[in-house]
Structure formats: structure tokens, C-alpha cells
């Protein structure tokens, strides 16, 4: 159900002749009320899938922009209860698919069963968990599948072919290729290594491929457009809002 929903969104974008757009915004950023307004705006202005960040005190895969934003959200008391309560209200108004991106510990403490039930109830399609690689995710995959929820794997420039094959066996809705050997907000270098890795991923995965980390504008993509189906942007959007912009004008860049 969620799998098809996510894939359809990406396919519809392709039919319109563009990459699917996947903005990331930490829950509660830049303020508790404004956050939902930004989400509505992202939805209205072309977001196909929206990643809502679940803030964590120790976000090891993130650069200073996302970490700084997350810590501000935590200080305002943002937690999973607040996110699900907000989704209950706003999810019915959104056409984009919703995934939660967050580190494992807040999910674990919330309770995995309770998490899945709340996700189903509020229309969340899946999870991106940057510190839950294949081996650690395995114990939960059966239940996720039974609940019609998706685990979206991250892949790196250093992920081996056999490992990608293992991820492919999970038949994910889509996979998320990290564009750099680095953290979110890193400077991206669109180079041959990335192109080769994307080509390899294309051969191994039958599902769509999203590219993320360090993406700011469509011009950056250049020639790699043909190897990807979707783009994820987080740090650049956060910075844009911090500098006084809105999701609306940020999305216009990608329109």
C-alpha cells in the first residue's frame, strides 16, 4: 500500500518530465506552528514525498545545519507524540506521501509496536533511520511489511555490490543514495565515482533511486539526472528558511 503510494508519487513526477522532489524538514522547525504551515506550503508547491525529521540529541549522520535545527526543536518540546498529533490534523490536507526520518533511539523508546500503529493511523508511509543499517533493521522488517510500512535504505558511495543486493532483496519502495562520503549538508562533488555507483545501483535495484545530502539546486545535478528518479534536500531548505525565506520560494527553484 505505502510501497505503491511512494512509487506512484515518483512515477507521476517522471511523467511530468521532472525528478520527484523530497524535501526534509525537522519537526517543529522553524517553530511549532510555522512548521505545519511550511509543510502545507511544500505540499502545495510540488513536494512529492515529505520527510519529517524526528529530532534527536545526537544526530551522528548530520552536519551542523540539521543538528542545530534539531536541537532547537527539542528545546521546544518536540517529540513523536507531538508529530503524530499534528499529522492527525494536517495529514488529510496533504497530497504528498509522508515518511519519518529519525535516529533509532527515540523510535525504540517510543516503542516499535506503538510507533507502527501510530504511523498507520496518521498516514505515514515509512521510515528512514540513518543509524539502522541492514543487520539491525532485520528484526523489524517482517512486522513493518505486515503493517504495510516501508523501511527506506540509505546507500553510500562505499556500499559494495553484494550489500546492495541484500538491500534489493528487501524490495524497498525506493532507495536513498547518499551523494558524498560525508554528513548532511556536505559539499557535493558530482564526479565519476558517484556516476558509477548510481549506474551500479540502477542495475541492482528495480525500485526508484533518490539522491540526497548536500543538494541545493537543480543545476548541480547536471548529467547525473538520468541515473536518478528523485532528489532529497534538507540542509539547503533549512538554511533558506533560517535566512528568512519560505518553502514556497525554495520549491520554485525546483519547479
Amino acid at each position: 500500500m505505502s510501497k505503491q503510494g511512494l512509487r506512484d508519487k515518483i512515477k507521476q513526477a517522471a511523467l511530468k518530465g521532472r525528478k520527484a522532489l523530497i524535501p526534509f524538514l525537522p519537526a517543529g522547525f522553524p517553530g511549532k506552528q510555522r512548521f505545519w504551515e511550511e509543510i502545507m506550503m511544500l505540499d502545495e508547491h510540488g513536494a512529492d514525498i515529505i520527510e519529517i525529521g524526528v529530532p534527536f540529541s545526537d544526530p551522528v549522520a548530520d552536519g551542523p545545519v540539521v543538528e542545530g535545527a534539531s536541537i532547537k526543536c527539542l528545546a521546544q518540546g518536540v517529540n513523536l507524540e507531538w508529530i503524530f498529533a499534528g499529522l492527525k490534523e494536517y495529514r488529510p490536507k496533504l497530497t504528498a506521501e509522508i515518511v519519518l526520518m529519525g535516529y533509532f533511539n527515540p523510535f525504540l523508546q517510543f516503542g516499535i509496536k506503538k510507533l507502527m500503529a501510530a504511523a498507520r493511523e496518521t498516514g505515514v508511509s515509512g521510515f528512514i533511520v540513518p543509524d539502522l543499517p541492514l543487520e539491525e533493521a532485520k528484526p523489524y522488517l517482517g512486522e513493518l511489511k505486515a503493517q504495510g510500512l516501508e523501511y527506506i535504505p540509505l546507500l553510500g558511495l562505499n556500499t559494495s555490490e553484494p550489500r546492495m543486493e541484500e538491500y534489493a532483496e528487501m524490495d524497498p519502495a525506493f532507495v536513498y543514495m547518499v551523494s558524498v562520503l560525508g554528513i548532511t549538508g556536505s559539499k557535493v562533488d558530482i564526479n565519476q565515482v558517484l556516476i558509477e555507483k548510481l549506474k551500479q545501483a540502477r542495475e541492482i535495484f528495480s525500485c526508484p533511486i533518490a539522491l540526497g545530502f548536500g543538494l541545493k539546486s537543480p543545476e548541480q545535478l547536471g548529467t547525473i539526472g538520468e541515473y536518478i528518479d528523485a532528489v532529497v534536500f534538507g540542509s539547503a531548505l533549512i538554511k533558506h528558511i533560517e535566512e528568512g525565506g519560505t518553502s514556497n520560494d525554495f520549491m520554485a527553484r525546483w519547479g
Binding site: 533509532f104 533511539n105 527515540p106 525504540l108 523508546q109 540509505l154 553510500g156 562505499n158 559494495s160
Partner: protein
């Protein structure tokens, strides 16, 4: 048991981008740790450079007072003044065998940073150390020491600006420098295989202690006591006694000031299980899974997590973990200095304090070994500041 797990604790909760370097490290451990060239080279360095074996010292004065036999494993006499060097020398040598040219490390108070910088200097490796900005201010001398040894110290301004944030930053650095750099993690924490690697390198403490106590008393001790922050000195002395069920293993955690509601570092006693820094273990955290700040008078115990194998030892009952408060540790710091002429690190003072608490509770022929993990010169600023 699942690979990389101790019961339900341990694992590899890291970004996918760190899986390849962790696998590379695991393979290198298999290949080199048991290789005789590596073992010989490590042994030579430990003997001639670190000063091993460290003595097992009998505390004549205190034993008389306490009513049982008290022994100290003198890790304070190792080069750089603490057990930390056993780990950093081993990891630096392994990094060389792996063809790495640099080490990255985290440090809290600076002890592990100094030990890493030392090993890097001796083995000709580059060294970068991440240290919380708050700690950089508090531990200026150790920053100078690391720089003197040729390391680059990077202050970390994110989060609580202390050890846990320095670990985050070191992991981030490692993601982007994994080809040339080995992450020299300072305790039996972090993702698999670090808890195994650090345990292996620190087990030299327990192996020596076992041989020494047998030689001196003809038997094994009734109890071994060690302080636990991340838990590397404790695991180092406990592990070789794991099968010797008659030896009681006691880990001592830092209770902080003991004021209700104040921060502390007694993770195993007061924490709950969760995931931090790549491993499933006991943590100090909120109900929502956010990591809490920790506190101890002993900077080296100031960490909101603990090695996953200690979590396992606690749950299966092989070791027990007790709490000592700042004031008791401080009192033990003075007692050991005055009665035996040994100034202990504030970390080790927690273990000494627990031994002192046993006065009158053990039999006259009982033998207790305390792991004196480090020397206290580094702590004079803290102690005099309180006087």
C-alpha cells in the same frame, strides 16, 4: 549469540557509510591480532615503551586498617599515567598494519587524546583529536600536551560540547576520511568491533594481575574492583577472570554529588537500555530517548553510556555495579595519598573508595585487587579548587 552482541547488548547502529570501515577493521583484527609479528611488536612496545608489566602492589598500611588484604594493579605507572595507552598503542599499531596514515580520536578530559597523540607520535601517524569546547576550556594543559605531541585538537561546539559530542564529531570525521584514517576509540563502547578490540587490548591488565596475584598469594583474589565510565579499565581487568566464578567482579560508577535531581554518571545503576554511538546499552536518557548530560568529579567517568558488555555482565549477574559519590571518591583520593604515598586519579579513587567501604565486612584472609587505572597529578586542579 548474534554477531557483535553480548546478550541483547552491542550491535552496529551506525550509518551505512560506516559499515565498510567497520568491516575492514574486523577483518584486520582477524588477520593481525593473532599474527606473531604483530604480537611480538606489540609486546616489545608494551615492555620497553609503556613499561609493562605494571606492578601489583600490596597496600600494607591500608590492609592493616581495613582487616583484609588490599592490592593495587598499578596502571598509574604505565606511560602517560593511565591504562589508556594499552589501547592506543595497540590500535595505532593495528592502523599501521592496515596501511592507515592517520588516527582520529575523541577525548573528554584529554587522557585518551594524550594517549592517542603519544601512540601516533611514536608510530609516525598523523593525529586529530575532537574535544568538546567546554572540555577544551576546562583542560587547557591536556590540550597543550596533545599539541606538543604533534596532534591537532579540534574543539567541538555542537550539542552539550562535551565527550558525547566529541564522539559524534569523530564518527562524522571518520565517515569522510575512512580511506586513510583509523578511528582510535577510547573505551569498550561504540559499534562492533570496537568493544571487542578495546577489551582485547586492555585484557593485558587482567592477564598480568592474574599471574601476579597467583605468584604472590598462591590463589586468585576474592574480589576485583574497578571504576566504570565507558568501562575499559574494568573490562581489561575483569575479562581474564570471567570464567573464574569464585572471583567477584565489582564495577564502581560515579554517582556525582548525590543531590537528588543532579546529573551523575551511574549509567548501569540508574539508566535504561537504548542506542547511542552505535551500540545498544544502558544509557542516561529521557523517556523519549534523548541523551541526558552526565556528570562526575572524575572527568574520565563523565559519559552517559557504558560498554555493552558491562550491560550484559550486569544483566547476567557476572559482575555487580555499585555507586560511589564525589565526596567518597575525594576522601579516598586523600586516604590513598596519605596512607600509601600514591596519588590516584579521581576515576580510580571511586574504585579505591568502594574498597575502603568494605572495612570490617571481609575476612582477614580475603584478598581484594583494585585496578588503579591512573595517577592523580592531572586532578590536582580539580581537588585544590574544592579546598
Amino acid at each position: 549469540m548474534k554477531k557483535g552482541y553480548f546478550g541483547s547488548f552491542g550491535g552496529q547502529f551506525v550509518p551505512e557509510l560506516l559499515i565498510p570501515p567497520l568491516e575492514e577493521l574486523e577483518k584486520a583484527m582477524d588477520k593481525f591480532l593473532s599474527h606473531k609479528d604483530f604480537q611480538q611488536e606489540l609486546k616489545n612496545i608494551l615492555t620497553d615503551y609503556v613499561g609493562r608489566p605494571t606492578p601489583l602492589y600490596y597496600c600494607k598500611n591500608l590492609s592493616q586498617e581495613l582487616g583484609f588484604h588490599l592490592w593495587l594493579k598499578r596502571e598509574d605507572l604505565a606511560h602517560t599515567g593511565a591504562h589508556k595507552i594499552n589501547n592506543t598503542i595497540g590500535q595505532a599499531l593495528l592502523a599501521k598494519y592496515m596501511g592507515k596514515t592517520s588516527l582520529v580520536a575523541e577525548t573528554g578530559a584529554g587522557q585518551h587524546g594524550v594517549a592517542t597523540a603519544t601512540a601516533a607520535a611514536m608510530l609516525g601517524l598523523e593525529c586529530i583529536v575532537f574535544m568538546g569546547a567546554k572540555d577544551v576550556e576546562r583542560q587547557a594543559i591536556n590540550v597543550r600536551r596533545m599539541e606538543l605531541l604533534g596532534a591537532k585538537v579540534e574543539p567541538v561546539h555542537s550539542g552539550t560540547r562535551t565527550l558525547k559530542d566529541a564522539i559524534n564529531e569523530a564518527l562524522r570525521y571518520w565517515i569522510s576520511h575512512q580511506q586513510t584514517t583509523h578511528y582510535c576509540l577510547g573505551s569498550v563502547v561504540g559499534p562492533h568491533p570496537f568493544p571487542l578490540l578495546v577489551r582485547e587490548l586492555q585484557s593485558v591488565i587482567g592477564r598480568e594481575a592474574k599471574e601476579q596475584i597467583r605468584e604472590k598469594t598462591g590463589r586468585l583474589p576474592g574480589m576485583i574492583i574497578a571504576c566504570v565510565g565507558g568501562g575499559s579499565n574494568a573490562m581489561g581487568i575483569f575479562y581474564p577472570f570471567f570464567e573464574d566464578k569464585e572471583v567477584e567482579l565489582v564495577g564502581v560508577e560515579a554517582g556525582g554529588s548525590g543531590t537528588p535531581g543532579s546529573y551523575h554518571s551511574a549509567t548501569l545503576n540508574k539508566g535504561t537500555a537504548g542506542v547511542l554511538h552505535g551500540t545498544h546499552t544502558y544509557l542516561l536518557q529521557t523517556d523519549e530517548g534523548q541523551i541526558l548530560p552526565s556528570h562526575s568529579i572524575a572527568p574520565g567517568l563523565d559519559y552517559p553510556g557504558v560498554g555493552p558488555e558491562h550491560s550484559f555482565f550486569k544483566d547476567c549477574g557476572r559482575a555487580r555495579y555499585e555507586v560511589i559519590y564525589d565526596e567518597q571518591a575525594l576522601s579516598a583520593f586523600y586516604t590513598l595519598s596519605q596512607k600509601e604515598g600514591i596519588i590516584p586519579a579521581l576515576e580510580s579513587s571511586h574504585a579505591v573508595a568502594y574498597a575502603l567501604e568494605l572495612k570490617g565486612r571481609l575476612k582477614g584472609d580475603d584478598h581484594v585487587v583494585v585496578n588503579l587505572s591512573g595517577r592523580g597529578d592531572k586532578d590536582l586542579g580539580i581537588v585544590f579548587g574544592l579546598e
